[in-house]
Structure formats: structure tokens, C-alpha cells
Symmetry: C2
């Protein structure tokens, strides 16, 4: 299983806004910028659903996610793909709520998404684009 370590972790943690892509079960892609995204453990990403609309509907019918991260200063970019589990109680959800409330006390997260990482790809422009790590 690919790990969120090394250069992938570095680029991930430098990112402030994450483009999160989903698709309907009919294959209509959707991509939105999300701030509250972080590495939960080496194989899992936590996303907070504060205002998700189509992304949540897509994950409910097709739990596949893709996230792009890049640092064009160092010409590093990665695409992370995984499977979403939507949670509305328990420790990850409570952590998500506490994280959001720290900076935005008036916002009430609707759910948290635990994304189990299944694939990581090189995504920097060049001949290695698309190669799996």
C-alpha cells in the first residue's frame, strides 16, 4: 500500500488548498477546492465536509476520490487516489469538528471523510507524469 511519507508528505503538508475530485456513478467528474484536508495516518487522509454538495453526493454513490498536490517551485506534484468512508460520529469526526472550530467557531462540519489511500502517482509535468510510486 502506498504511504504518505517522504516527498509526498512534504508536498502535501505545504499545500493550503486541495483540489478534491470525485465522480458520479455515471462518470461525471467534479473538482472543488477544500482547505480542511490533512494526513490522518500514513495510509489515510482526513477531509472535513463543511459545505460539500456534489462531492458528498458523488462519494455516497461512488466512494472514489482523487486529490492533487503540487509544489511548482520544486517541480514536484503527486496525485493521490483512494476510497472514501463518510463518518458523522466517533473520534475522526470529533477531531474534524475540533479542527474546524479552532479557526472558524461558527462553522459546523456535517461529516468527515476518511480516505484510504490506494494509489499515488507522479503528477509533475514531464515524461514521468502518471507513473505510479
Amino acid at each position: 500500500m502506498p504511504k504518505l511519507t517522504g516527498a509526498v508528505k512534504d508536498v502535501f503538508e505545504k499545500t493550503a488548498i486541495y483540489p478534491v475530485a470525485t465522480a458520479s456513478k455515471d462518470g461525471v467528474p467534479n473538482v472543488v477546492p477544500i482547505h480542511f484536508v490533512k494526513i490522518y495516518d500514513e495510509e489515510t487522509i482526513l477531509l472535513v465536509d463543511n459545505f460539500m454538495n456534489k462531492s458528498l453526493k458523488n462519494m455516497q454513490e461512488n466512494p472514489q476520490l482523487a486529490i492533487s498536490v503540487w509544489d511548482m517551485k520544486t517541480n514536484q506534484a503527486y496525485q493521490i487516489k483512494g476510497q472514501a468512508t463518510i463518518v458523522t460520529s466517533g473520534k475522526p469526526f470529533e477531531e474534524a469538528v475540533a479542527w474546524v472550530k479552532t479557526g472558524m467557531p461558527d462553522v459546523n462540519p456535517k461529516s468527515a471523510i476518511l480516505m484510504k489511500v490506494t494509489h499515488i502517482y507522479n503528477s509533475q509535468p514531464g515524461p514521468d507524469l502518471g507513473k505510479e510510486l
Copy 2:
């Protein structure tokens, strides 16, 4: 038909790197950062395929595209969805090649993608996220 004008155009043109989402016909989402993306006319976006791999395969079997743009300084974000036509000759392709060669003379674009815009959505975090313009 939604137009690439006003605030959408402003935010689009401030963007340097565009997260471009596609999906396989089975609904596996894919998102990669692409630099060579621009407004071709008020209803069309031109993307250059220099190194596309999975994105191109996805568009060949499922010509649906989604692009996210944002300017978090002004809290504006939009998602643009459309239909891709892949071209490897003619005026848009020649323009794509000339554009890339200006800055990167050693890169040889493989194709150009004309994306006919079908929907534009508000994408800024908040209660209006997901509303169609």
C-alpha cells in the same frame, strides 16, 4: 450557455495552475495540475496536452471535464464543467503548439483539447457552494 466572463474570467485569468479533473467511463476520478489552460472564447477553454496520460485516456472514453479555479484572497471560486474535443491539427492545435514553444521550445504538444463549457458553479466555501451560475 454559461459564459467565461466577469468574475469567472477574472479568477480564471489570475490562475497559474489548473486542476483538471476527468473520469474513466467506470467513474474513477483523476485530477492533475495543468499550466497550459486558457480561455479560447467566451464558451470554450483550450488545454494543451504536453504530457497527458490518464487524463487523455479518460477523455477518449468519457469526454467530460471539470476545472477548478479559486482566488482565496477574494473568497471567489468556480467550477467549470464541459465537454472535451481532442484535436491534433488545425488552428487551435497550431495555436497550442505556438503557445507552448514560446516558453518551452523543447516541448512538443501531442494534442490540444477544446472544452465547450456546459456548466459553471459557485465553488467558494460557504452556503452557496455548488450553486449554478
